[in-house]
Chain length 513, copies 2
């Protein structure tokens, strides 16, 4: 058999298929010749009248008929007459087999190999792409230089450990930023929030002014955490690949959000919230949110309707109007839930029996078995991440005196669970002591803010280095897993393993820094 296939190898054989016991060999000559277009030809097709063409790798595509049904809207026109690849390197959600196969339906030919005469066309195209990208992110604001940038476009940056350490409430400019798309332009005067779904008044809309006037204002302190917080440790801990930004411990921050309760607004829009809170009601299983940037997500209706979950439509962050990076003029804040559901720049809410159809709800932010691969991770079957597991991290280690160090950090859990204990160890987890906790003034079952902790530990004797460890226990007595091995997933989310920091121990017994 091997020899048979070896015989078939050759430049003119492009494929072999075995069907019903019959072998068929496909030669190059069997393939219809593709039409060939130069870059210049493609660049002339940018309007519906000429047809809208784009380049992807070495293929040329006429996407005129696709424009009206593009989920991301007319933004795709920025690539008209150009290569779409630089845009997809930003809008990375397109890198899926489904998108590739969809695009092939629109293929009209191949790109001609670039010759010396194409140089100026290439240059022109690249310049035009750079301009288009700059325009796309033209509304992005200035950011604080102390942030640790993980990606520029879209902007993603984590907070430095010392900045998280130094304040219980993270200042707005230092709060970690997580954008999936460019920051949109929002005009407060023209802004309107639309709500739709069963029981909802037809065409129900609210301006920001109406939101502020008609509903009681609420302030809730909430730690928001990215599902990928501590992702970097998931790679270093397993030597396995993960997909996503290499967040360390700073993709979490704690702020006071002010706004109105979502359930009050839903009730005003006509939904029988009080009935829902008591027993299951058919037809509404999820509350979907759309943001003006094109992002979308949903939460279970039980979370949205529960008075104790305190889901907010927020217009202030730490007493100021919400800055552009954080979703101003209006955003959702879902306490105790992965930050990916707290949709920024929200302008549409829909009650539905289905989850949001957004890429980020259906094909991202889900957890998988440690044995699942990129190929076997079944996004249809897995449940979307909502409440987050108990988490903790070490933010600072400083020498106190000979053999003694002071540790500081944070701990947090989802679903309103507070922290009952943080165990710290100076010998890699052999022995433990209780850290001192700084607990937020929030009711049991409504502990949305993080808990800060500190501990002074004695270093072991006769070793050259040792491992400092922290692990937290929440009010549900849930605990953190010992290593990342058992929670590893290819998407690199939900790393809540014990946080470990190796430190050298000096000859005198103190820190060998």
């Amino acid at each position: 058999m091997r020899a048979f296939f070896d015989d078939l190898h050759g430049d003119d054989v492009v494929g072999v298929a075995i069907k019903d016991g019959q072998i068929s060999v496909k030669h190059r000559a069997d393939i219809p010749k593709a039409k060939i277009f130069t870059r210049h030809e493609v660049s002339l097709h940018t309007t519906p009248s000429t047809g809208i063409w784009i380049i992807h790798n070495q293929g040329v595509y006429d996407i005129t008929r696709f424009i009206p049904i593009h989920p991301g809207g007319s933004r795709i026109l920025l690539a008209a007459g150009k290569s779409i690849d630089p845009f997809w390197s930003v809008f990375s959600i397109h890198h899926t087999p489904e998108t590739y196969s969809l695009l092939e339906e629109y293929r009209i030919g191949d790109l001609a190999p670039d010759g010396p005469s194409d140089l100026s066309a290439i240059e022109e195209m690249q310049k035009s792409e750079t301009e288009a990208l700059a325009k796309l992110f033209g509304n992005d604001p200035e950011r604080d230089e102390r942030l640790i940038v993980r990606s520029e476009r879209p902007f993603n940056a984590e907070t430095r450990r010392e900045d998280l350490r130094d304040s219980f409430v993270t200042p707005n400019h230092l709060h970690y930023k997580r954008n999936h798309l460019p920051v949109p332009v929002v005009d407060e005067e023209e802004f309107a929030l639309e709500i739709e779904g069963p029981h909802i008044e037809d065409g129900f809309r609210l301006s920001i002014k109406e939101l502020k006037e008609r509903f009681e204002k609420a302030d809730v302190m909430v730690a928001l955490q990215c599902a990928g917080n501590r992702r970097k440790d998931m790679t270093t801990g397993t030597d396995k690949p993960v997909k996503g930004l290499p967040w360390e411990e700073g993709a979490i921050s704690n702020a006071v959000w002010s706004g109105v309760y979502l359930r009050d607004v839903l009730a005003a829009a006509g939904y029988p919230v009080k009935e829902y809170e008591k027993a299951h009601m058919e037809g509404v299983e999820h509350v979907q949110f759309d943001g003006l940037d094109g992002y979308g997500a949903s939460i279970p209706a039980t979370t949205a309707m529960d008075p104790q979950r305190e889901v907010l439509l927020a217009y202030e962050m730490n007493g100021e109007p919400i800055p552009p990076d954080h979703g101003g003029v209006l955003r959702v804040v879902v306490p105790g839930t992965v930050a990916a559901r707290s949709v920024k720049w929200v302008n549409k809410i829909a009650l539905s029996d289905e989850e949001s159809w957004s890429h980020w709800q259906r094909h991202d932010y889900k957890g998988f078995s440690p044995s699942a691969t990129q190929e076997t991770s079944d996004y249809e079957k897995a449940e979307s991440i909502q409440d987050m597991p108990v988490q903790s991290a070490i933010l600072d280690v400083s020498e106190r005196d000979n053999r003694t160090v002071h540790m500081q950090g944070y701990a947090w859990s989802g679903a309103g669970h507070g922290i009952v204990r943080v165990d710290v160890s100076a010998d890699g987890g052999k022995t433990w002591m209780d850290a001192e906790l700084h607990v937020p003034p929030q009711d049991r079952n409504r502990r949305w803010a993080w808990t800060k902790w500190e501990a002074t530990v004695k270093l072991p004797k006769g070793v050259k280095e040792t491992e400092l460890v922290c692990k937290a226990v929440d009010t549900g007595y849930n605990t953190q897993p010992e290593t990342v091995d058992s929670i590893y997933n290819v998407r690199g989310v939900l790393n809540s393993a014990w946080h470990r920091v190796r430190i050298p121990v000096g000859e005198t017994g103190g820190l060998d820094a």
Copy 2:
């Protein structure tokens, strides 16, 4: 120094104290001679007029003045004129340093060494003790012989794995039983539930008839689990001592409880439940429950008031009046919370700014650091267990064919979290596959029932035995710890480590059974 103390050794030296640099030596002759009483003499003191005496170890105590302040009430009189030790072996909550030291205040002398003439007195006393104990438990019902009894008095028994396996809803007679005290006599006609606290109408009382007539009936499927479920594995897994009954995997069962919502009853009694659910109200932090057996516990007011938590005052279990062992005529059922808070035979509810002062709320059912000992476990500081962590266990392993076995089990989590995934492994956790889940028809955030699961796994080759493992992930994406080491606690509660079952592998590759 050593020599100095050596010199002091001798039969007549009973103590050495160093205070302010002065050494004082206490000789036997310095101790006042204790009064000596025979068993017969003690047996004559059983009424207030003679004084009420008891024996503990070799001490004699006059507890007449203590009777009115005994937390357990007049039941202590059963030991009058006798040794209290057989009773304390049943009411084991007395085995604390506090109780021992309290009792010493009432010591009036020592018991005379038993001579041949005391034999009849000893026999008489033992007979009387046996009778008293039988009387104490005289109301305990007949139980199903299939239960695995862990203690007879009070009655504690777990459900066999096969019985848990064979039904999604555990039948009443097979549901695990956990009594802390004798089963009380409850007369439905005379029964009244009292409620007290801020905002509550003075002298508010309800008969069972009124409860059934005045409030909407609700049915909720709930898995109740003892905090000590799987305790036995905590000892075998660590070789460290734990205090409590050696429960295996059967201190959990799943039933449909019917009754009325606690919050409806509190609202009818005058409490502004709707205000509480929205924001913190001063003065009420806990809801305390007292049972007719003398047991007591409390839950956070936020749990009690939350409509979504569905806390019940239940009068039916799987469609029948609640059997005596399970708290009939009325019990509390707190879904998602350790069963120890679902107080049976409840006849008093109090809203308070304090937790219940019951022994089981304050000095039991709390978790501690793995490094805490019996002595250093600080019950004042630790938080009482309420919501429980994510849990799973293997109930059955059967051979399918060569190299393949079928596993079945349960998974559950607290706080209304459902189960999103159960990972099973046939090689001790090196590789995993997803089990098939049987999820109860309950809303997200309200999954109080357990999830059953099954999986067919391939056994590894070339080994003589292997370890089957299961671990669950809940809707909060919380996970179970890998081993008991990191969650070990001297009380032996909250064992939610991966469940592991070692099985022999036959030469042909199948089960070597």
